[in-house]
Symmetry: C2
Subunit: 202 residues, 2 copies
């Protein structure tokens, strides 16, 4: 049986992409990355993908008149690659309702906090400023609201007294890099069951 294909969307460093690449290499993740898409031509993620001989596509948002036009282009790339699942890994764009409905339950995102706490661009910094003692990592299905769709997996991460954003984020990233490949594997091999906001992978 051929392994399922996934598309990974990145805008930045691509450390989660790297973790996924390594999980595929070591067979912890039985999948093939059919394309890495970036909206940022300078994303380090692009270099990581190239080094792993994965096809890359840069879509420049400035070339599109609307969010949906961008998303239609993204959709064509995903389809052409044969990907069954879209994995957001530091993709700094909000997807349109059209795209999200089209790929309902087939888009995953990872967030550096225990949602619904600390959504947005600075999950670790906001947790630190709020003074929580436990934060964590969330893998969720993407819906049309930011950092909002049904939660698939979460794992707690302790906040230490001396933490800076950097030290906390490093601890969170280690958990992300372990959790995301596992979540992808479970979604690919299992069946995601969603009842209202409650989602489980069987």
């Amino acid at each position: 049986m051929p392994v399922p294909a996934i598309a990974v969307c990145c805008s930045g460093q691509g450390t989660n992409l790297q973790a996924i690449i390594e999980a595929v290499r070591s067979r912890r993740l039985r999948a093939r990355i059919s394309v890495v898409v970036s909206d940022n031509p300078r994303a380090v993620a692009i270099l990581r993908a190239r080094a792993a001989r994965i096809p890359t596509v840069v879509i420049d948002p400035r070339r599109f008149s609307s969010k949906e036009a961008f998303d239609r282009s993204l959709s064509r790339i995903v389809e052409a690659s044969g990907a069954k699942l879209i994995v957001l890994a530091g993709f700094m764009r909000i997807l349109s309702g059209w795209f999200v409905r089209r790929y309902a339950r087939r888009i995953l995102n990872i967030h550096p906090a225990l949602l619904p706490s600390f959504p947005g661009c600075h999950g670790a910094r906001d947790a630190l400023r709020h003074g929580v003692k436990v934060t964590g990592v969330t893998v969720h299905l993407v819906d049309s609201k930011v950092d909002h769709g049904p939660v698939l997996l979460q794992e707690p991460v302790p906040v230490m007294e001396g933490d800076t954003e950097e030290t906390l984020l490093a601890r969170i990233h280690r958990v992300e890099h372990r959790l995301y490949p596992r979540a992808i594997q479970r979604v690919l091999s299992g069946r995601v069951k969603v009842a209202g906001r409650r989602a489980f992978i069987r």
Copy 2:
């Protein structure tokens, strides 16, 4: 050296009160419960306190014209008992700004969720409905907003697929009963250091 006195305020079952009573008995908590206060004459907590020969006071909110008048009465009871710390354990009242300022950093509350997620009266139910995979317990200093003051301790609690509110709450309560006496002990024996929203017990 005499052990420090604490006042415990309850409105209901008093299972956290019971955990504190047992921690005092077994010397895990080096404190004396100088009074148990309830705003509800039918609180089971009152019976637990009486069984442990702890002085109890019921303050009937209907006898007071304002929240602050109630709180002044509560303050007199706390002072008369010699308590240095006020421990809210299922106390279903919001304390006035006057009271909270008077006892700044000397009022503790426990909440059945990882604040800032799921504040309010139904922390476990709300977490379950939201579909999180990790919830928990928060011990925090009380300020004038509900479930809002600086966090002292948090501990994660997993949500299981088959959980009902009852099974989840039972798991949360077990953690509460372990965490609250420990938090009280640490506050009594140490120094609470607060910087903005970040609080630590040294």
